[in-house]
């Protein structure tokens, strides 16, 4: 059995993480160890560093209250930072002693609830940021953007006369109109129903790529992040825990938090013995050079575990959840450990059936040190 085990990373916070490892290009946006959010109702962000290359899309992913929106608002200039620096195209936007007002930053933002001006028509909303333009240029630019987002003919409507998807298109067009250096999107799909979300996700992706816009998108939905992003930055409690490509995040999560946040994962306790990791469901090679007798956790995705019914099996089917193209089973092992595995929907196995567990591929098994038992 050949196993790939990701070595445990060094503390992800202390090192700055570049989103594009092999680029000599100057980054569009650079966050250098920023700390912010000392108002009572604002989640704090600590020592966060990020680079973003021109034209790239980055997703800030994390549970609510993790500081992802605070980070976005700090870039836009709505929150002050108390340490670190924010650079855009080499220009300082903010530092501990300097705060460029939001209106001078040239950073566009699409708000979670769109924040369309309710007393202005679609046209006036989009033209709001083109205040200093020549009237003829302004008109052409507005038309251009409405074409881009597919809102031709709705120029004179008011926000309350538009559907959720149309409102979002206006918000995107309005943010792009003054040609910002980059675009920030705060949970852009959270106000749409699921069908519309998928449609708008594709639509937004097309617009961003077509306009070669550098963008940061905040979301708590990992599927959204995977679908949209060149790079995903996962945050937890105000700290950036991992920043990588979607594939990298999925296959090599840096800690059990990331592993569990981006999809269902089984974590099984094991112990290092004779250079191998012994667990209840099999042995794995010790590629992370853990010392003997160390307690570790092995993470395996449900897709990598199968079972076969057997009278002598030590597992017992406890739950079954039909998910369409697959069925998710919960298997209770004799030790009390619960294992989830994905099987084809046919045949259907009954609850209480005794089964034997197989790990089909260990490609995706990840080993973490086990937290000290209290």
């Amino acid at each position: 059995m050949s196993l790939f085990v990701e070595p445990r990373r060094t503390d992800p916070v202390s090192s700055s993480i570049a989103t594009s490892s092999s680029s000599s290009q100057a980054p569009m946006l650079e966050l250098n160890k920023i700390t912010c959010g000392y108002q009572p109702e604002v989640p704090t962000v600590r020592d966060l560093s990020l680079h973003l290359q021109p034209g790239n899309i980055l997703c800030l992913l994390g549970p609510s209250g993790c500081g992802k929106t605070t980070t976005l608002r700090a870039i836009a200039g709505f929150e002050r930072i108390s340490a670190g620096e924010i650079h855009l195209q080499g220009q300082v936007l903010a530092s501990a002693s300097f705060h460029l007002p939001p209106e001078q930053r040239r950073v566009g933002m699409v708000f979670q609830e769109y924040a369309l001006f309710p007393h202005m028509s679609v046209e006036d909303n989009v033209a709001f940021g083109l205040y200093h333009w020549q009237p003829s240029d302004r008109k052409a630019r507005v038309q251009n953007l409405l074409d881009l987002v597919g809102l031709q003919g709705l120029e004179h409507r008011f926000p309350h006369e538009l559907s959720g998807g149309q409102q979002q298109r206006v918000a995107i067009a309005r943010a792009l109109a003054p040609k910002p250096l980059m675009l920030l999107l705060d949970e852009p799909f959270s106000n749409l129903d699921p069908d519309m979300t998928i449609k708008m996700r594709k639509e937004l992706y097309r617009v961003l790529r077509q306009t070669q816009t550098t963008a940061i998108l905040v979301t708590h939905d990992h599927e959204e992040a995977f679908a949209m992003a060149d790079h995903v930055a996962v945050m937890q409690d105000g700290i950036l825990v991992q920043c990588d490509t979607p594939e990298g995040i999925y296959q090599q999560p840096s800690c059990s938090f990331v592993a569990e946040f981006i999809g269902q994962a089984n974590t099984i306790p094991g112990i290092i013995n004779n250079g191998q990791i012994e667990t209840e469901i099999g042995t794995f090679p010790n590629q992370s050079d853990f010392h003997s007798e160390t307690h570790v956790l092995v993470m395996i995705r449900p897709i990598d575990i199968q079972f076969t019914p057997s009278e002598s099996g030590s597992g017992r089917i406890e739950s079954r959840q039909f998910q369409g193209s697959q069925t998710l089973y919960g298997i209770r092992l004799s030790s009390g450990q619960l294992i989830h595995c994905c099987m084809l929907p046919i045949p259907v196995y009954n609850i209480e059936t005794s089964v034997i567990i197989h790990v089909t591929t260990s490609q995706h098994a990840i080993i973490f040190p086990q937290p000290a038992l209290s």
């Binding site: 700390t35 000392y38 836009a76 200039g77 709505f78 002050r80 108390s82 007002p101 939001p102 209106e103 001078q104 930053r105 040239r106 950073v107 566009g108 933002m109 708000f111 979670q112 609830e113 924040a115 369309l116 001006f117 309710p118 007393h119 709001f128 940021g129 205040y131 309005r174 943010a175 109109a177 003054p178």
Partner: protein
């Protein structure tokens, strides 16, 4: 870690405004305790026992009477279906359109010795019996009750309308009769609304000057006025003022405290509300008759008399060009004060709602000081401040407008605050994000969206200023009379016809604002 203190220029503006509004009270406090305090002991021995007894007993009496009147009318209107219900529903709000001193002056006529009520009573009973004089506790009680019961009515009505019927049904399911259910379940459950309305009434009664002065009933406000105008004894007036302010503050904090407590009374989730029940013919008649008596006493008869007197004055040619001058003076003062209040209130309300730092919230709280400064007290504070420090401005309309501003800004500020809170701050951030500076953001985004609320605030402050009496009496430039001042001066001389035209005008102007008020959601807590 050092927390950011963002002392922007706008913050400094806010601090200056709050200082302007609170400084007079601070100065009057300082002035009360400097100088010869022997007067204070004298005051304590001679006037204070009477003033305390009168003020407290009037407040208690009016609260009890308004609670009875307000709750019973609200209960009947929300629970019974009867002919005339739609009219009474808004009819009981109308008495709020009559300023207390107008009602008082009508009642001095009605209840006077050999007045219409006494004559009718003597004719009915065929006796020489006298009715209580209007210049008494009874007179003040009747006038203040009729003038303020609509507040209780409004709050109780809202409480009964939002009342969860399941509580009553649960009580009846255990075998309680309707009467028991009302006393043991319904009434205790609307207690937050009752307490809130009682605080409102008490605050109104202790700070009223117009009615008690015309009825010559010695309460704090009247005594303060007399100390200033009759004896020029500012220090005693200041001491009395501080007692009154303390009294009002206790009530204000008690109300805030109670409001916090009362959150527990509110039910969450789906609420089934009562549908009005139809009732028998005799009941319909009885309800309409008793409602008519209340309505006539509180609104119908006073307005009828005002119209009659106005017509007499008109035909006698007693409504001269000076009437136009009084209207002009009133409108000039009120419009200036309301506009100034709007301009000064905007930064305070804006800062407190957008950047609610301790400093900004404190500034806003400071602006609410007018709530606990009855008219004579606000006037005294400015009088002492300006005669001592800037005598050149004393006796100009500037001081008067400042008094209006301090006194009535709180009323407008509430409307402005709620208007600003309804504007999502994201809209302003979006504008900033699109390159708009602070001023353009305010003019193009915030202001158009709060315009309605701000207009209502302006109108409310304008009308309150039109009715303002004690501060105007004390601070107006010589010969500069307003409608309210004319009403009070003529009524003091019992020249009923001459007082009627300005009184009628104020009542008519106030009616639309009263409807605005009645539509507001009057929920306690």
């Amino acid at each position: 870690m050092v927390r950011h203190t963002q002392l922007t220029p706008l913050s400094l503006v806010g601090v200056s405004i709050a200082a302007l509004l609170t400084f007079p009270l601070l100065y009057v406090t300082y002035a009360a305790f400097t100088g010869d305090l022997s007067q204070a002991g004298n005051l304590w021995n001679t006037r204070l026992p009477e003033l305390l007894t009168n003020t407290i007993s009037l407040a208690m009496g009016v609260s009890l009477a308004t609670l009875t009147l307000g709750v019973s009318t609200a209960w009947i209107i929300t629970r019974y279906q009867f002919w005339g219900r739609a009219f009474w529903d808004w009819g009981f709000v109308l008495p709020l359109a009559i300023p207390s001193f107008v009602l008082a002056y009508v009642y001095t006529y009605l209840l006077d010795t050999a007045g219409p009520v006494e004559q009718t009573w003597q004719w009915l009973t065929n006796s020489e019996a006298h009715i209580p004089s209007p210049y008494s506790f009874t007179g003040a009680l009747v006038v203040m009750t009729l003038n303020t019961f609509p507040y209780v009515y409004l709050l109780a009505r809202a409480a009964f309308q939002n009342f969860n019927l399941s509580f009553e049904e649960a009580a009846q399911a255990t075998g309680a009769t309707r009467r028991e259910t009302f006393w043991r379940v319904s009434l205790p459950l609307i207690r937050p609304a009752l307490v809130a309305s009682m605080f409102l009434v008490v605050l109104y009664v202790v700070s009223d000057f117009g009615a008690v002065s015309l009825l010559r009933f010695q309460t704090f406000t009247y005594a303060i006025y007399q100390q200033i105008t009759g004896r020029f004894d500012y220090q005693s007036a200041a001491l009395l003022s501080l007692l009154l302010v303390g009294f009002a503050l206790v009530f204000l904090f008690a109300e805030r405290w109670f409001r916090k407590q009362s959150r527990f009374y509110q039910t969450s989730g789906r609420v089934r509300t009562a549908t009005p029940k139809p009732c028998s013919m005799t009941r319909v008649l009885a309800i309409n008759l008793s409602f008519l008596v209340i309505f006539i006493a509180a609104f119908g008869l006073p307005v009828f008399l005002l119209i009659q007197w106005t017509l007499t004055a008109w035909t006698n040619g007693e409504v001269g060009t000076s009437f136009g001058t009084y209207i002009g003076n009133s409108v000039l003062l009120s419009a200036t004060a309301a506009t100034a209040a709007l301009v000064l209130g905007t930064p305070l309300a804006y800062l407190a709602s957008r950047i609610p730092s301790k400093l900004h919230v404190a500034c806003l709280q400071g602006a609410y000081i007018g709530y606990v400064l009855p008219g004579p007290v606000a006037a005294l504070a400015l009088l002492m401040l300006f005669t001592d420090m800037i005598p050149i401005l004393y006796g100009t309309i500037f001081v008067l407008i400042l008094a209006y501003l301090i006194h009535y800004l709180p009323a407008g500020l509430q409307a402005m605050e709620s208007a600003l809170q309804q504007v999502n701050p994201n809209l302003e951030e979006a504008a900033r994000n699109l390159g708009a500076k602070g001023i353009r953001t305010f003019m193009q985004i915030t202001f158009p969206l709060v315009r309605k609320g701000f207009s209502a605030a302006w109108l409310l402050m304008f009308l309150l200023c039109m009715k303002e009496l004690p501060a105007t009496l004390l601070l107006r430039p010589i010969g500069f009379d307003t409608l309210a001042v004319r009403i009070w001066l003529e009524a003091s001389e019992e020249l009923y016809q001459l007082a009627a035209p300005p009184a009628l005008l104020i009542v008519l102007l106030t009616i639309p604002a009263v409807f605005l008020l009645s539509k507001k959601n009057w929920q306690a807590g």
